[in-house]
């Protein structure tokens, strides 16, 4: 920082004095009692001092730079809100992106905040402890700035107001929740590999970079500002994840197979989680900058190749699921949109059939698959919708026991066939959407038998609002689910004919007419 004395010390020496030199080995309480969580996963650490600090931010610099970002961000938000900035977005459909984002992503930022706080408590070395704590407060930042920026949209549009209530209840949010619940209930090293490495380093670019660039392209200054501002912390987080992997692998050769299994598991779990992000890019942004497939190629395949080439020196190989994700990039977003479109009564965001020119864009971006498998369905839906028979599948979904997504994916070698895998554990049957999910289950069945599957819970009678007698003879579980979710009927259904659509059009008209 500004201090001249500090210039005498190099950045590295100064940072060491400011962090690891503060720590000591406890003697009044044994170290293994002070740090009880670091040994049971089987990871061997011989020397915590070998940790290389990636970014060397002391708190004074941290506060200075972060405050500068926060000032800028809230100034832009205030201006955006004062000027009815929500009316500058490309069209009213765009706002549905924010509904999905607030429900599926923001609550996970909070989980990250809590998870990294625990890492900041459990890690023995001062270097990783400090980096994890800094990430913890950053995650609070992301969570809160997202809530603040979307708060203004919530005043004018439906479906945003119950995200906090819905985060642990809504059927389609259980994939993300299970993802983070899985990580946070794992030991500290697995958490670091899962979130720090597989998610932050390998996958988070897909979530944020093209998506936020897309928000900018669609005129949403608020989301763009919040998103890019959050992303400026993300570079620090990614680096922490990568350092962590290197550190663990350099400590002991026995760590390699454990870490490899975690990389395989979490790359896959992250990929499944990101399917809905891809859907936003391909279907929900009225103006598109790139397809999910292109983003996957740029940020996962190319960048991932660089990363795994580099990690080869430790014996790490590309995640087992790599080829499968590459094959699926042609399919997942279409399968996801189909899955949501057909459930108009059960989402807090609107869905729609893409416009003909949007279908053309999809045909162009997905030349191998879109016309062959998906386009006829959308055209059929457009036709029936016009005839007053919008598709509405009223049945309850079957879900994968591990990733909690609905069973909507295809057999790897046959896009026309739904993929099913199953196994028995202690006499009970379990179903999976894919080979990787089955394998994850088989590695830790005791964990995944606990999964909360929304449609099963409904059938058990656990999804009724307070005050409903679930033991009454005429109790019909399905009747109460929407109330249990606090699902606003105005937020459901097709965009066409929605209150959002009418309001956006009327307000924009009012604001642009003289």
């Amino acid at each position: 920082m500004d201090m001249k004395v500090a210039k005498k010390l190099g950045l590295k020496e100064r940072y060491a004095l400011m962090t690891r030199d503060l720590a000591w080995d406890t003697t009044y309480q044994p170290m293994d009692k002070v740090f009880p969580q670091v040994s049971y996963e089987g990871i061997k650490i011989h020397d915590w001092n070998k940790w290389e600090d990636p970014f060397r931010l002391t708190m004074d610099a941290y506060w200075k730079y972060q405050a500068e970002k926060e000032r800028k961000l809230y100034a832009i938000l205030d201006a955006f809100n004062q000027n009815n900035g929500h009316l500058t977005v490309t069209d009213g459909r765009y706002i549905n992106v924010l509904k999905l984002f607030l429900g599926s992503t923001s609550p996970l930022e909070l989980m990250a905040a809590r998870g990294f706080t625990n890492m900041g408590r459990q890690m023995v070395g001062a270097g990783p402890r400090v980096a994890c704590l800094m990430q913890a407060v950053d995650e609070y930042r992301h969570f809160q700035t997202q809530i603040h920026s979307i708060s203004n949209y919530n005043k004018f549009y439906n479906g945003l107001d119950e995200f906090a209530h819905q985060q642990s209840r809504m059927w389609y949010l259980s994939d993300g929740k299970s993802f983070f619940d899985d990580a946070i209930t794992a030991g500290p090293f697995e958490f670091m590999v899962a979130i720090g490495f597989a998610f932050e380093y390998v996958l988070t670019n897909i979530l944020f970079v093209p998506f936020i660039s897309g928000a900018a392209y669609n005129g949403d200054m608020a989301a763009m500002t919040v998103g890019f501002s959050a992303q400026s912390d993300e570079a620090r987080h990614m680096t922490l994840g990568l350092e962590c992997i290197k550190f663990i692998l350099e400590q002991d050769p026995d760590n390699l197979p454990i870490v490899q299994r975690w990389i395989d598991k979490w790359t896959w779990r992250g990929t499944r989680k990101l399917g809905s992000v891809g859907m936003m890019m391909d279907y929900m942004l009225p103006k598109r900058i790139m397809s999910f497939k292109e983003a996957w190629e740029m940020y996962f395949e190319q960048n991932g190749a660089a990363l795994f080439n580099d990690l080869a020196r430790y014996g790490i190989t590309v995640p087992k699921c790599f080829a499968q994700t590459v094959a699926e990039k042609e399919h997942v977003t279409h399968q996801s949109w189909i899955g949501f479109y057909m459930k108009p009564d059960s989402t807090n965001f609107h869905t729609w059939v893409p416009e003909p020119e949007e279908l053309d864009w999809l045909s162009e971006k997905y030349p191998n698959t879109f016309d062959k498998y998906y386009r006829p369905t959308f055209e059929h839906w457009a036709k029936t919708q016009k005839a007053g028979k919008r598709f509405n599948n009223k049945t309850a979904p079957m879900n994968c026991q591990v990733c909690l997504n609905t069973m909507k994916y295809n057999e790897p070698d046959d896009p026309m066939k739904t993929c099913f895998r199953s196994t028995k554990y202690k006499g009970e049957k379990y179903h999976f959407c894919s080979d990787p999910c089955l394998e994850i289950f088989e590695n830790e069945p005791e964990k995944y038998v606990q999964a909360y599957i929304s449609s099963h819970q409904v059938l058990q009678g656990n999804c009724a609002p307070e005050g409903v007698d679930t033991t009454a003879p005429d109790f019909n579980p399905a009747e109460h689910v929407a109330a249990y979710w606090r699902l606003d009927p105005n937020a459901t259904g097709d965009f066409d004919g929605s209150q959002d659509q009418a309001n956006f059009a009327a307000w924009r008209d009012q604001a642009t007419k003289n």
Partner: protein, 90 residues
Amino acid sequence: MTSNAFIAFQKNEETRCIVEAIVDDNPGAIVVEQPAMVKVDVPERLVIKRATVEEKMGRDFDLQELQIHLITISGHLDETDEEFTLSWQS
């Protein structure tokens, strides 16, 4: 196949200078413009030199100020008072 190290920034006056500095110091740098952001790829090793950025900006620059503008990076990071380096071993 060579691996690219990359860095992306929010587009603004400061990062315009930083990107210019990167282009000067890294032969082979490829600049890609996207809505509201700019990404620079360099085969294997990307370095940002404080001195070059200062020259472009006409003022003192602390490499930690990069924090404010960063969007994403790829590569192993090494940071000193003088240089911010991202690299891959392939």
